[in-house]
């Protein structure tokens, strides 16, 4: 267990020079995402009819897609804050009255489409913008209609690939789709921001206008994951029945006949040039996307993430925790001791070894390559996290009922990402100031988590003790023989330097075996050696109490873990206190003063008390910030 950790640590230097995947952020200082922030619900996203399932963001960041459990797909153009429905649930379509009615609607849509073509100058974005600003969760009727309209289908597809109303009416695939609601998986092409894919119970859908209009391009049900493989020029889909491959960016799909047939493919990643798929029955790998073979790992897999800093390194999320391989899947070991049930995925954050995983028990963060994990739970009332997208250095998550992002909540406002860090704030916006205050309050001496370096604990057993010893001995003697009338005097001396590196449990006996230089010292040194050996034994056992528990010298890792957990817990409480004082302050400041003098004085005292409490937790940072700004 320790060796890969050490090797991982040693590999950091290598990693900074090695190739990095486009999807992996560059190495940088590792800053915990939960240090000074709490999850904030995008309140506008709480009105969906079905539970949420998946989230995707276009490579240029302008468009977001949201898949629901009933297969409905929504689109956002304002950073996942307000949403417009662009594709209805498959079961909704079945509720439509009859074929004739469908055709009538189709004709109307065709007419509207012709009109829309004439007024092409009215950009789609404008239409979307109107829909988005009117309500947080709305329906884009045009987009939905065009989803079954051949004339509105993407022009770059062949005629045979387009879906028209006649086909919709007679398509056995549409009629055969499962009546049970299945979640929609949404995906954006990592290169072309216009291309998006969605996997639902009625097949794979494709959009070439950033998710506004959709065309069903394949009948394979329940595509859980998509992965672009630029080197091979293909897109791979993992479905409930194995792997499917598209040679044209998702326009056409082909089934692969191999070991993945019949397996639910829940995860896909590129490990170097090798494709790896995580299935309900273990891992499979392929070099061309067509022929797959099994790897040694046979447990259920829910997520995969290749380690950019270690060739052949990969993390695997399972329903029970995180596993890791350092040798491209030849062997696996458990990464981290935390019990993290129901994990669904894994993603990299900014900084080497900075990871985030999510599942039914919330979001977990690791800052040491998966060796230790801690929950990022502050403010997250809905821990059933379905999907996660990293934007910059902050994650946006889809919980079962709404979208959440990491920020600081004040008086109901949302989306304030904490980005300011430092000790000398000047000219800060209110939100940034709060983020700064929380940051300062939780990074005070005694609450800093970076003082507990898990890497140091990991390498400690490998470091020796160094013993240096200088010994000087002198002996003077006189022997006389009265009968012979002879007297003999002698003098001997010795100086010796010894050094020893002592790995693991050490005994000083070997070092102190000093009887070989001056024979006559043997007895003395022997005694000396024994005394010191006894002394060293009396020093070695270190036992102390920590948080009421008896800790031994060999339990430093546990002591550090307990201490870190205690610190994290208290940091959460401090954050709550600071945010509470801030909320009180803001509420009071923005409340008109009462007409009575005593009421006005009370209000002023409330403000002063809230400010004093902020100063209390931030060691005066609030006043320093206000003084520098001359605010109020």
């Amino acid at each position: 267990m320790l060796l890969p950790v050490l090797l991982w640590s040693l590999s950091r230097a290598y990693a900074q020079e090695g190739p990095t995947s486009a999807s992996v952020p560059p190495p940088g200082p590792v800053v915990s995402i939960g240090t000074a922030a709490a999850w904030v619900e995008e309140r506008g996203t709480a009105g969906f009819d079905s539970r949420l399932a998946s989230l995707a963001r276009s490579v240029d960041g302008t468009n977001w897609l949201l898949g629901l459990e009933d297969g409905t797909i929504y689109r956002s153009m304002d950073g996942a804050r307000s949403w417009s429905r662009v594709l209805r649930s498959p079961n909704d379509r079945r509720d439509e009255p009859d074929e004739e009615q469908l055709l009538l609607e189709g004709e109307a849509v065709v007419a509207e489409d012709a009109q829309r073509a004439e007024s092409q100058s009215d950009s789609v974005e404008d239409q979307e913008g109107v829909a988005s600003t009117e309500t947080s969760v709305s329906v884009d009727a045009d987009a939905e209609a065009s989803a079954v309209d051949s004339s509105a289908a993407p022009r770059d597809l062949g005629a045979a690939d387009s879906v028209d109303l006649d086909r919709v009416a007679t398509d056995p695939l549409l009629k055969d789709h499962d009546t049970e609601d299945r979640p929609a998986t949404v995906w954006f092409d990592p290169v072309d921001a216009e291309v998006a894919l969605a996997g639902r119970s009625d097949g794979i859908w494709r959009s070439t206008d950033s998710g506004l209009h959709w065309t069903r391009v394949d009948s394979a049900a329940d595509a859980w994951r998509f992965l672009a493989v630029p080197k091979l020029g293909i897109v791979v889909a993992g479905s409930s029945n194995g792997v499917r491959v598209s040679p044209d960016g998702g326009g056409r799909w082909f089934d692969t006949v191999d070991v993945t047939d019949g397996l639910e493919v829940r995860a896909l990643t590129l490990l170097g040039d090798t494709l790896v798929a995580g299935t309900a029955g273990g891992l499979v790998t392929s070099t061309d996307g067509l022929r797959w073979k099994r790897l040694a790992f046979t447990g259920a897999v829910t997520g995969l993430l290749a380690d950019p800093g270690w060739p052949g390194g990969m993390w695997v999320t399972t329903p029970g925790g995180v596993m890791r391989t350092d040798d491209a899947g030849k062997s696996f070991y458990t990464a981290g001791r935390q019990v993290m049930p129901g994990l669904r995925g894994l993603a990299p954050l900014v900084g080497q070894g900075h990871l985030v995983t999510w599942g039914t028990d919330g979001v977990w963060e690791s800052m040491d390559g998966g060796v230790t994990w801690h929950p990022v739970y502050q403010g997250l009332r809905d821990p059933d996290v379905r999907d996660l997208v990293v934007v910059g250095d902050q994650p946006v998550i889809v919980a079962s009922r709404s979208v959440w992002r990491l920020g600081v909540s004040v008086g109901g406002s949302t989306g304030a990402t904490v980005s300011a860090r430092g000790d000398a704030p000047v000219a800060l916006e209110e939100q940034q100031l709060l983020g700064l205050l929380v940051d300062v309050a939780t990074r005070r001496t005694g609450l800093r988590l970076d003082t507990l370096n898990p890497h140091a604990l990991a390498i400690k057993p490998l470091l020796p003790a160094v013993h240096l010893e200088a010994i000087y001995g002198r002996q003077v003697g006189r022997d006389s023989q009265p009968l012979a009338g002879q007297t003999v005097e002698n003098a001997d001396g010795a100086f010796e330097l010894r050094a020893m590196l002592c790995f693991g449990g050490c005994s000083l006996t070997g070092l102190l075996d000093f009887a070989d230089t001056v024979d006559s010292y043997a007895a003395d040194i022997g005694d000396y050696s024994g005394e010191l050996a006894d002394a060293s034994q009396s020093i070695t056992p270190e036992v102390y109490t920590l948080d009421g528990e008896l800790m031994g010298a060999d339990t430093e890792a546990f002591a550090a873990t307990n201490t870190a957990q205690g610190i994290r817990k208290y940091r959460g409480q401090v954050s709550d206190q600071v945010v509470g004082a801030w909320a009180t302050l803001q509420t009071t400041v923005h409340t008109p003063p009462p007409p009575s003098l005593s009421g006005a004085v009370d209000r002023l005292l409330d403000i002063q008390e809230a400010e004093a409490r902020l100063d209390l937790y931030t060691e005066g940072a609030y006043t320093r910030a206000r003084t520098s700004e001359n605010v109020r």
């Binding site: 005292l605 409490r613 100063d615």
Partner: protein, 221 residues
Amino acid sequence: MTFLFPLLLSLGAAHAADFDSPEAVLAQFADEPSVADVQRMALDYSKTDPKYLDSWMRAAKSAAALPSLSLYYNYKNSFGTDYGYYTPEEIVDDSKVDGETSMTGAEADALTYGPFTTANGVDIYHVGSVRATWQLDELVMSSNEIRIISEAQDIVKLRDKVLEEVTRLYFERRRLQVDQLLSPGGGDLKKKVGDQLRLAELTAELDGYTGGRFTSSLKQK
């Protein structure tokens, strides 16, 4: 002075109408220590100032750079005397010169057999050593450091708790002062006495957290 202030007010020294703003009301207490001053007093008295934690952390970090030293000195004085005993035959043999004995057996028997001192010896030993030991693993993270971090966390909790309480007491006291200032004639005598006792109690509690510095500060001003 501050203790008497509310009583003076109760005699009609000030009325709400005398003040044109809440700031003017609070300005009446400008000669009292600010909440920041009181927090600093509590911080000093409780010895929970962050500077202590910083020094502990530095000491814990740098302590491992110093070796543990062992000094050893051993002095030993070893002495001895050898004794010999002679039989009459050995004495006779020893007295022979050129094979001719000068001593009869009877004469030899008359001589004592010893003991004779044959050798004296003394040996003096001095052994000294200096041993320095560096625990390199302690340089990266020592158990002492973990303990200090744990203790530092407790100190921060204590500091926050103390300062929270001090802040609460300070403003409760101030509100009571304001109430007495703005309502000098309101309430009955029992309430006034009760308020005055509560004011004294809050002052005493602040003194408890500041080691009496709060009252000392009031007297100085």
